[in-house]
Each structure stands twice: as C-alpha cells, then as structure tokens.
C-alpha cells in the first residue's frame, strides 16, 4: 500500500552543491535548507545594511572613520557572501581551511548577536506598548466606576421624581407606587487580590529577598583589550549574547507579569460592567414606569 511512496529526499536528485547540508543542522532542518537559507539571508543582509547607517543626532561624525566591529575582524564583503550561503559555492565546509572556518565561526557568532539584539529591541517595543495599554485599561476602569456613580446619582433623583409623581393626581385617584424589582447597588469596586497585592509590594519582596539583585553593568562596553584570535572574538560575541539573552529573559518575565495584570484587570472590568448593566436596566425599567404615570396624569 505504501510501497509507491518515496522518501521526499530521494525524489529529486540535487546537484552536488545543493545536496550538501550543514553538519550542525538537525535532520529535519536538512529537508528545508532552501526555505531557511532565504530567510537567513534577509536577516543577515538587514544586519549588514544597518552597520553603516548613522542617524543618531548625538553623533559628531567623529567616529565616522572608526571601523564597525565586523570590519575590525577583517571581513570583506566577498567573504561575507561566501559565509552567507555556507560555502556552497566553494565546496562546502569540509573543503575550507582552518582560517576560513575560524572567520566563519566569528561571522556566525556576530550574526547570532545581531539576531538576539533585534529580539531584545522587539521585546522593548512590546513592553512600551503594553505599558500604554495598561494605562489605558486603568483609565477605562476609572470611567466604568464614574459611570456607575452617575447611575447611582440618577437613582436618587429618580426616587425624588417618583415621590412627586405619586403625590400628583386627583383626590379620588388611587395612590401610585413605583415598581422596583431590585435596589440600585452603585459601583462595586472589585479590589485587587490582597494576597497578590502584598506579594507584589516591592519593599516587602526585597526584604524577603525575592527581587533579583540589581545587575551591575551587564554590557561589556569596552573589553579590556581588543580580541586577537578567532576564539577570543567568538568568546566576546558569546558574552554579548549572554547579556542580551539575560536582558531578554528579564523582559519576557516582565511581559508575562503585564499580561497577567491585563487579564485580571479586564476580568474586573467585566464584573463591574455586569453590575453596571443590572443597575442601568433597573433604572430603565423605573423610567418607563415614571413616564407611563406622567402620561396617565396628563391624559386625565
């Protein structure tokens, strides 16, 4: 039954260059080498294009002559193109000299650093947007509470109006009592969960030793000396990646906290809106009754 089906890898016989797969890739990645290489290419190209651009208003142009980190490592664009397609045009990894492979390792390390830094930037942007969203949610919560307060005020005024409508009418007309199905509760402020609230209090957390100790200067701004060999260069890049990943981890933790707070706040809003809806519905019912009474009086 399954005999006719061939393995997808054996269907098309690729040329010797294309059949080569990265020995460090996992097997399933090998299937989609083409698909990945294009996206990888764009990300590295993006990294390349950003190197020379200078848009910072604080630049004096003094360091325009400074070489970028990549050129410090002595890469020419020709080499970069070679690395970008993983030496497919020059016989694969196996046929490269040790020096070439070292340079390739440095290039890959730099590319990874750029990717991690980009992730960090994206996370920072998300964090800023999330902060704004939380402020808006807080404002919305306040507005719901204020609207409910107004509904309670309307209830007071309506009660007085109903009394006046009840006292109107002829001498022999039967007294009118407004229909009320339930009392108006007014805003039910659903506070934060006190346990969680206390747990979140920064000073108490610090006393308990829950807050992570403030990190020192995490970024290796100026390494003690310029890395000389490829191994040192890769180590420097790895340190940069570690710092960036550590920052990213903290940011993602914070984003998780934000998401939880957003969720609980929206839940509070839902509860508050349910109460508000009930009260407004009751007010609506009473206003209709008062209008009917008014019409009846005018009809007489």
């Amino acid at each position: 039954m399954f005999g006719s089906k061939k393995s997808p890898l054996k269907v098309a016989k690729p040329s010797s260059v294309e059949s080569w797969t990265n020995p460090f890739d996992s097997n399933d990645e090998g299937m989609d080498t083409k698909k990945y290489s294009s996206s990888r290419k764009t990300s590295s190209e993006r990294a390349l294009t950003t190197l020379g651009v200078n848009t910072n208003p604080f630049d004096d142009g003094t360091d325009a002559n400074k070489k970028s980190s990549s050129t410090l490592y002595g890469f020419q664009s020709a080499n970069w193109n070679k690395y970008k397609n993983d030496f497919r045009d020059s016989g694969g990894l196996e046929n490269q000299s040790v020096q070439e492979l070292e340079s390739y390792a440095v290039y890959k390390a730099e590319e990874t650093t750029n990717s991690v830094t980009n992730c960090l930037k994206i996370a920072e942007n998300i964090r800023e947007e999330a902060t704004q969203t939380l402020v808006t949610l807080h404002q919305q919560g306040e507005q719901i509470t204020r609207s409910h307060h107004v509904a309670a005020d309307i209830d007071h005024d309506l009660t007085r109006g109903e009394k006046l409508l009840g006292s109107l009418g002829g001498l022999f007309s039967k007294t009118w009592k407004p229909k009320k199905t339930r009392a108006i509760t007014g805003p039910v402020i659903v506070g934060d969960d006190p346990v969680r609230r206390k747990g979140n209090h920064l000073e108490q957390r610090e006393k308990l030793g829950l807050t992570s100790a403030p990190k020192g200067q995490s970024k290796l701004r100026s390494p003690p000396q310029e890395p000389t060999n490829a191994f040192e260069k890769v180590e420097v890049e790895k340190n940069k990646q570690d710092d960036a990943l550590s920052d990213l981890s903290d940011l993602l933790g914070e984003l998780k906290g934000m998401a939880v707070d957003m969720g609980s706040e929206i839940e509070r809003h839902n509860k508050a809106l349910n109460h508000l809806y009930d009260d407004v519905d009751e007010l609506n019912f009473r206003v209709i009754g008062a209008n009917q009474r008014g019409r009846r009086l005018l009809g007489k």
Binding site: F58, E124, L134, H138, E142, N200, L202, D247
Partner: protein
Amino acid sequence: MADQLSKGEEFEKKAEKKLSGWGLFGSKYEDAADLFDKAANCFKLAKSWDKAGATYLKLASCHLKLESKHEAAQAHVDAAHCYKKTNINESVSCLDRAVNLFCDIGRLSMAARYLKEIAELYEGEQNIEQALVYYEKSADFFQNEEVTTSANQCKQKVAQFAAQLEQYQKSIDIYEEIARQSLNNNLLKYGVKGHLLNAGICQLCKEDVVAITNALERYQELDPTFSGTREYRLLADIAAAIDEEDVAKFTDVVKEFDSMTPLDSWKTTLLLRVKEKLKAKELEEDDLT
C-alpha cells in the same frame, strides 16, 4: 452648499425678527433659540464656519436669557468647534466662556475637559507657555473630580512643557510625584521607570552632579528594581560623563541606549542641551590650557 447658506440666512433673519418682536413669558427666546440652532446647522453644512460660530454665540445668548446655563455653555462649545477651523483665538475665547459657565453650574469634569481642549489648541499653535497654563488648570480640575488618570496625563504635559521652558525643578517634581503614585498601582507600576528616566533627564539638565547622584539614590529607594534597568544605567553613565567632562563618553552612552530604545524628540532635545553645555565646558577647559 449655496442652498444651505441661503436657508441658514433665512432662519437667522426669522430668529432676529422673533427677538425684536414681543413674546409671552420669554417664549420669544425659546423660538429664537430653535431658529438659531437650525441656522447654525445649515451654515455648518455649507462649511461657512465663521457664520456658524457667530450663530452659535447668538444661540448661547438666547439660552442665557432663558437662564439655561448648561445649554448656553454647550452652544459656546459648538461655536468653538466651528471657529477651530478658521480662527483659533476666537475658538479659545468661546471655550473659555463655556468653562466659566460649566463652573457656575458645578459641572467641573466638563470644565476640565474643555480646559484640556484649550491647552491642546495652544499646543497645536506651538504656544507652549499658554498650553502649560491650561494643562495645569485642567489637571487641577481633574484632580478635584478624582479623575486621576486624566489628571496625570495633563500633569505629564505640564512637566514636558516646563522642561522645554527650562523650568526643570517643576518638571522633576511632577515626574517624581507621578512615579510615586504609580508604584502603588498594579497597572501603572510598569511605567515608573519611564517617569523616573524623565525626571533624571531633567536633573541632568541642571548639571549638578551631586543632585543627580542623590536623585538616583532616591529613585533606588523609591523603586528597588530601578537600579537594574537600562534607564538607570543611562542616567548613571551620563552623570559620570558629565563629572569627567567627557563628551565622547556621553555620546557613546546615549548612542548605545538609543540603539535599543529610540529616544523620542523631547528626550533628544534635553539631552542635546546637556551635550551642548558639556561641549562648552570642554572648550573652556581647552582655552584655559
């Protein structure tokens, strides 16, 4: 368009006629108000904004004669919205009158809202001094009505403009106060480091290294997590650069921060001021040597 314009003029004439005639128990003002309202709507449809604004002002005076201040205030607001298209100053004066009327009838939240609108108009006209004054009034009104989020938004605007006008201490006080308030709120606590960064940048503009260091210590006490943030590192490194009078270090520090979180125009302006002062100091040093 022309059709609506002639209709509007017709309604206006009828209204004027009503006002000049005799009416029973002030009913002439009610009728005139109705006609002025129709006329103003026609002028709006004809996009004749000045005429629409003027008609709304006549409508407002009718409502005042009838002692319905709320309607009069609303008519002034409508007039302001018409004048907004052609004459900002007239728009502001209409909103100002509306605010006074809302205050008279105790509608302070409405007054606050329109004070904020006046501030926004001035801001649009780049009249920062007046914008600051009205944002401050608006914040005050919102605070009285316990609309804290809107109050804080207005206060932040005040702080922003105060810093632009080199009233740094005022700006610092506002940002620190907002940060203090935000710490006690589960939703607003995430914005604290942003407020402290703004306050810190204003501290840097004062160029008092001791004050900056003290402020950073105070911010750490206020929010124990602040010392681990990139914002804290930026402020501390800039303070060090100012202390060492090292422009290159200052530039590197700012560039590194900007590469991760692009600085907005307000921060850029203030940091450029700091840099200019630092450069001037460096030049002085060079002249002396």
